[in-house]
Amino acid sequence: MKLKYILLALLIALFTVACSEDDSNYEAPIVNEVEGLNKVQEITNNDHTIELYTASGRFYTGYNAISIRIKDNTTDTYIENASVSWMPVMQMPTMQHSCPNTNPIKEPGKDTVYSGNIIYQMAFEDGTGWSLTVNYTINDMDYSSTAAITVMQNDDQNVSSFMGSDNKRYVVAMIEPKNPIIGNNELVVGVYEMESMMSFPVVQDFTLSLDPRMPGMGNHSSPNNTNLTYNSADNMYHANLTLTMTGYWVLNLKLMNTEGDILKGEAVTEDNIQSSLYLELEF
């Protein structure tokens, strides 16, 4: 009885595998390397068209994981050997500045897709103001392409830009969890110093204390959270974030430098219901 089921299962498995092998033998594999992503926009110059993709198909304030493809306008094929960098710029009335970002590199296992990230720390209400310049080199030839982009304000504050007590400007942005669960979540945060208007290097070896709260539940907190500590493998800060229910959470943070001096944020108490440094999360 049982054996019969196992045999049946094995047969089904065999046939399934066989089919897909047939496919790959007889047809050229059309692998969509941007499957699951949505195109935000294209940036075009005379030679190439640069396609920008995110999961949502839009740019929002905060951390954006972005994939790009560069299409040769004459051959209609995607470039596989480019080296790429980019520069997002926000045009303010009196000055302009950039934001923390990581240049795109070839995504492992893919031929045409390059991915990086940009953390827009702010946006105008109508989404205007930001532009993106993509510089790339193909076969020792340099190219550049610039276009205005639209960055929408995220509903929740997932990035915070502030002046620390050491008179330096910092940007703190939430990267994970993208899909929070009721339970233990890995919280990943990026911390960057605004060295100049155009340079935002990663800050290393600081710590952030974490105190998640639900303002809608009398500032209920959750247990067994850990503080955010720096991980040199990915240049980000990691912590355990526990969420006891779905809803709106405020992650109260305190940023401390290597000496343990508090640069920004306060402890949550009866009188002080929220730290001045916080991130928001909703699920």
Binding site: I181, N184, M217, P223, T246, Y248
Partner: protein, 665 residues
């Protein structure tokens, strides 16, 4: 599932084999020890203030061993030997059924009505282990036996009215009984507005409305074999809980069973009864009628149970043996959705019971051995396998906040053994018993997630790592009769190891707005519970009698703190006059000052009280028909009082005039 069934069968066999040994050594007869409350609806009785249409709760409260915890005027929670539901095994005719409310607003006694039942078997301590494992005792609400009486059609109707709360009750019972076939249908409807405590103080949110219908039928295959089917549907709506921050908009149960009975007087095997059953409960809490709540929420809960038992009775001159093989599978889910006052924020959701599946199978054996005409030695044992599984991934992840290593399944082996010696002569009888029992933590104790307890104002978190709670008990009982005088004493002592109770964790932040903090279920090293009752009665004449009972209870944990919900000194005195057609009784009932209250576990002191009740009854015979009247006054002096068992000190009913009329035709 299939895997479980195989496990389960395997375990049953191993349990059966294992059980052989102790069964031979140990023995005990619970039937003779068990207290039986007869749900005699239409008989005259002077036993306390019995109304025709008393609720099951009222009936249960008559037992010395049982106190009902009241969170309102409906769905009281029975406690036995000062222990609450999780330490008891409450069954309906051997069927396991579990309430679907995380806050114990629906003890299963609330899902049956007097019209469904014939009697209630109360087994104190391990005497109550016939249907399942317990520490405090077992309550089995028994359905009527097969009724192949061949009297044709019979019916009866009941009406009741009580002034306090404008409480209306109506019941109808239709019966057909033949030689080979019978069918019984009954229904009961109850509705009460808010009741008044003493001095006309209205207790808000104490209303309720419920109805219950049941259908029972049987067919006799031959002289030895019969099949019975029973269906109960119970639905309560608009039930207020003045002691709690929420009410109930729906408490609904469907209880179904199919029973096969074999009876033979001539063989060694006297009876063999097997039952298949299932029940499903839906419980919806509701705060929409409360004007002031910190946050609006929905809290629905569901509980489904499937099970069986098969019990065989053997009897010869010396032995009276009962073997009961049973098993059940329960699914308990409860969730909470809260709606923030800031409507821009999304609703907040959590599983408070994360879809816990409980699979149990076990075997019970009991032998009552007649040592002589006067002496009986009874021994019993139960062995079982108990598994809890968290079926909801979200629930498992939720609990991993507190228990990062938690896996979704936990097995336990449970055991119970007891022995009892009884001596019976014309002038006195006495019994002495010893017992050992274990129980698994309840779903709330094991897996509850932020369950708010309004009694101590703490949120509770379950603890899946709890050990089984174990109890060693000693009980003794003696009665002495002389002429018209009778005096009896009854005492039990429980030494409970790994006593499960909530322990404050100061590091945790309360979820419920306004709660004092969070308690995690944990175990005290041990706890002791002692109770003793002294009863005296004297028949002045054939018709006039007096009786009095006093009781004392004690409970303390190994941490030196008093246990909560331990009954203070209590007394009851009654003078009754009885004839065949008329009865009257005047009764005084009260508690002493609760001096040993448990402030550590959130209890406050309850003062002494005493109430006076008067009840009367008449029977009128009209040709072939019969009318029974029950009427009286409860709390004659309109005392405004609450007892230690009243959740958050909600006051009890003030003066209440009542009348019940039954018409049998």
């Amino acid at each position: 599932m299939k895997k479980y069934v195989i496990y389960c069968i395997g375990l049953l066999f191993s349990a059966a084999v294992y059980a052989q040994e102790p069964e031979a050594i140990v023995e005990k007869d619970t039937t003779q020890l068990q207290e039986v409350i007869v749900i005699g609806q239409r008989k005259l009785s002077n036993y306390r203030q019995e109304k025709t249409l008393s609720s099951v709760d009222d009936y249960l409260e008559k037992s010395n061993k049982i106190t009902m915890i009241k969170r309102g005027n409906y769905a009281w929670e029975p406690t036995m030997n000062n222990m609450t539901s999780e330490r008891l095994n409450v069954t309906i005719d051997g069927m396991q059924i579990f309430g679907a409310c995380t806050d114990k607003m629906d003890p299963i006694t609330s899902y049956v009505d007097v019209s469904n039942l014939e009697k209630v078997n109360i087994g104190s301590g391990q005497e109550g282990a016939e249907n399942g494992h317990c520490v405090g005792g077992g309550i089995d609400l028994q359905l009527p036996q097969s009724k192949f009486y061949d009297f044709g059609f019979k019916s009866s109707a009941d009406l009741g009215y009580e002034t306090n709360g404008n409480y209306r009750t109506a019941g109808l019972d239709l019966e057909y009984s033949g030689n080979k076939f019978y069918l019984n249908a009954d229904g009961i409807y109850r509705k009460s507005d808010n009741y008044d405590a003493g001095n006309n103080e209205e207790v808000l949110y104490s209303q309720f409305e419920k109805y219950n219908v049941s259908l029972q039928g049987g067919y006799k295959l031959n002289e030895k074999h019969a099949i019975d089917a029973n269906l109960i549907y119970d639905k309560a709506t608009d039930v207020g809980y003045p002691a709690l921050p929420m009410d109930v908009s729906l408490a609904e149960a469907l209880i179904a069973s199919l029973t096969h009975t074999y009876k033979n007087d001539t063989t060694f095997v006297k009876s063999w009864e097997s039952k298949l059953y299932f029940n499903t409960i839906t419980h919806i809490m509701d705060d929409s009628k409360r004007p002031d709540v910190p946050i609006r929420m929905d809290m629905p809960g569901w509980s489904d149970t499937y099970g069986f038992y098969s019990k065989v009775g053997f009897k010869d001159e010396k032995h009276d043996i009962l073997i009961n093989l049973n098993g059940f599978y329960n699914r308990s889910v409860a969730e909470m959705t809260m709606y923030p006052n800031d409507s821009n924020q999304p609703a907040m959701f959590m599983y408070t019971w994360p879809d816990i599946r409980t699979l149990y199978s076990g075997i019970f054996a009991k032998d009552a051995i007649s040592l002589s005409d006067k002496e009986t030695l009874t021994a019993s044992a139960r062995f079982g396998f108990h598994n809890n599984t968290i079926a909801e991934q979200v629930g498992l992840e939720s609990l991993q906040i507190f228990y990062p290593e938690l896996t979704d399944s936990k097995n336990r082996f449970l055991m119970s053994v007891a022995a009892d010696y009884q001596l019976q002569t014309k002038t006195y009888d006495a019994s002495f018993g010893l017992g050992y029992g274990e129980r698994a933590p309840s779903v709330s104790e094991g897996y509850g997630f932020f369950l708010f307890n309004s009694f101590d104002n703490y949120d509770y978190i379950g603890n899946p790592t709890l050990n089984n709670e174990k109890s060693v008990e000693v009980n003794a009982k003696a009665n002495y009769y002389k002429n018209r005088f009778k005096v009896g004493i009854e005492a039990s002592y429980f030494y409970i190891m790994d006593y499960i109770i909530g322990e404050i964790d100061p590091n945790l932040s309360a979820m419920t707005i306004g709660a004092n903090g969070v308690r995690i279920y944990n175990a005290l090293d041990n706890a002791s519970i002692f109770d003793v009752f002294l009863n005296m009665s004297y028949d002045l004449t054939e018709k006039l009698s007096a009786n009095a009972t006093v009781g004392y209870n004690y409970g303390s944990g190994s941490n030196g703190e008093n246990l909560p919900l331990i009954r203070p000194f209590s007394y009851l005195a009654e003078v009754a006059y009885n004839t065949n057609k008329f009865n009257v009784a005047l009764q005084l009932e009260g508690n002493g000052n609760q001096s040993r209250y448990s402030s550590f576990y959130g209890e406050d002191k309850t003062s002494a009280y005493a109430v006076l009740n008067l009840n009367l009854g008449n029977i009128l015979y009209l040709k072939n028909n019969k009318m029974v009247f029950k009427y009286g006054v409860e709390n004659i002096l309109d005392a405004n009082y609450s007892t230690y068992a009243d959740w958050n000190n909600i006051p009890r009913q003030g003066r209440n005039f009542y009348i019940n009329v039954s018409y049998v035709f």
